[in-house]
């Protein structure tokens, strides 16, 4: 057991008890691939904190993010969110009802929006309220309209996703994620599928959300957003956290060569 880590990790341990979101030694291996996709990541996030996760493609950022709400079951590790813990061990995974408890606390926004195409914007936002939380339909409608107004789309309530632009779709998806009143929202490259112009309107909504005190973990290639909005930037490569810290430290004064190389490549585009 490499428990020596705990010495360096004693600070992390102390943090863990107070952390709002705590991922401990998360590992993900895919069958048939020799290198693990996520290689023992431990990360604590405080309530109201905005964490940007950056790194090259294939570094395991999205896989790690998806472990937090168990869309990707970790091979092993422990995730705690607002007091609810889910533990995975090789060959031993949590039950559906335990996961439902965790997922109720976590909203997720996907790269490709993943809106339900056969439902209107309003129905997209009410579906889970009615069927996961058991909220009465009229109340769910009212909440949904409020949420759509928050993301600036009150006038799109009756439209299908296909009738909305990509930026509007992603904002509907954010409203949908917020409908469950989550404690933390995970963003998986929310602007990568969008033109810069449309991405900007999504980033504005995310900025507002951060200002409102929402705990956010954002996998992103938007260095501007990371620098201006995030409280902390985490740089990942090859399934591990290479370095992390305040945006100014990581983005302007990176210590590790791999971080420097990555940033040089991204910033010079």
């Amino acid at each position: 057991m490499p428990d020596e880590k705990l010495i360096a990790g004693s600070a992390t341990e102390a943090d863990a008890s107070s952390a709002f979101v705590h991922a401990e030694d998360i590992r993900v291996s895919f069958p048939g691939s020799s290198a693990p996709a996520v290689d023992g990541i431990t990360l604590s996030v405080a309530q109201g904190e905005v964490v940007a996760v950056i790194g090259p493609s294939g570094s395991g950022k999205s896989t790690f993010l998806r472990c937090l709400n168990h869309l990707q079951p970790p091979t092993s590790g422990k995730v705690t969110i607002d007091g609810v813990s889910i533990v995975d061990r090789p060959g031993q995974h949590p039950r559906a009802n335990e996961l439902a408890l965790l997922r109720r606390k976590v909203g997720m926004v996907f790269q490709n929006f993943n809106l339900f195409p056969h439902l209107t914007a309003l129905q997209n936002v009410t579906l889970a309220q009615v069927h996961a939380l058991g909220i009465d339909k009229r109340e769910a409608n009212e909440r949904a309209l409020t949420l759509l107004a928050t993301v600036g789309l009150a006038d799109r309530a009756g439209h299908r996703p296909a009738q909305c632009s990509g930026g509007q779709q992603q904002r509907i998806a954010i409203a949908r994620a917020l409908a469950l009143d989550p404690k933390v929202v995970l963003f998986d490259e929310p602007t990568s599928a969008l033109d810069p112009e449309l991405g900007a309107e999504v980033l504005t909504v995310m900025r507002d959300l951060a200002t409102s005190g929402m705990t956010m973990i954002v996998v992103t290639h938007e260095m501007g957003f990371a620098e201006q909005v995030a409280d902390r930037v985490v740089f990942m490569d090859k399934g591990a956290i290479i370095e992390q810290g305040a945006p100014s430290e990581v983005l302007r004064a990176a210590r590790h060569a791999r971080t420097k190389n990555f940033l040089a490549a991204v910033m010079n585009r």
Binding site: N69, L71, A96, A100, R103, R104, V106, G107, M108, F110, N112, N114, L115, F116, P117, H118, L127, A128, H131, A132, R160, P161, A162, Q163, R176, A177, L180
Partner: protein, 217 residues
């Protein structure tokens, strides 16, 4: 040659042809749902059972199944009415075809839809009835209608066990008539009178759904 002169007698068979086709299709459509569940199950044993069901049923001619049930089961003391035997056999056989149609429909739904449902804490039942099902229906409908036409034609098999459908009526007319060609061409025309409109409907549905889906993508 007046092909219309045989229609009154042939038309008496329409009732049975339509009854067998419609009821067998309903049986097939309903039965295919749980079997698709087995087929796509991640549990090896269940998916094996589903695969056996499909392979066994579609690997044997429907006529052979009909004879096994209608002529074979009485040997073990189980007598079944011709109409019931024909309807149930065709329904069960066609369920095995529809399982593959349903499965393709499920596979056409992007993983992101299931993930979004999961991330929203929706249960399995709600995920299938509210998210996956309605979307899968769009892909499933056109091929399912094609199988309805195939079933209409295969319903003629029940004439071999004594159901007086259009084909059975044509057989008895043809034997007594001097103009067999006119009789059987008339019978064929009756089948076309049903299958062509259904086919046209299916094509229209296909175009409309494709259009809708393109707009959704």
């Amino acid at each position: 040659m007046n092909i219309f002169q045989y229609w009154p007698e042939l038309a008496q068979g329409i009732r049975y042809t339509v009854q067998v086709t419609v009821l067998a299709f309903l049986i097939a459509a309903a039965l295919a749902v749980p079997v698709t569940g087995l087929r796509v199950s991640r549990l090896g044993l269940l998916s094996f059972v589903g695969t056996c069901y499909v392979e066994l049923l579609r690997g044997v001619p429907p006529l052979a199944w009909l004879f096994i049930v209608y002529f074979g089961l009485p040997a073990v003391g189980w007598f079944i009415e011709p109409l019931t035997a024909g309807t149930v056999v065709l329904g069960v056989v066609y369920s095995s075809y529809l399982v593959e149609v349903y499965r393709a429909g499920l596979r056409a739904i992007p993983d992101g839809q299931r993930e979004a449902a999961q991330s929203l804490g929706l249960g399995r039942v709600v995920t299938y009835t509210r998210v996956i099902g309605p979307q899968a229906l769009r892909t499933v409908l056109p091929p399912a209608v094609a199988y309805l036409i195939a079933l209409l034609k295969d319903s003629a098999l029940v004439s071999t066990i004594g159901v007086l459908d259009v084909t059975a009526q044509a057989l008895s007319l043809g034997r007594s008539s001097s103009n067999g060609l006119a009789v059987f061409v008339s019978a064929a025309a009756l089948y076309l009178a049903f299958s062509v409109p259904i086919g046209a409907f299916a094509r229209q549905l296909d175009v409309r759904l494709r259009h809708g889906q393109k707009a959704m993508a």
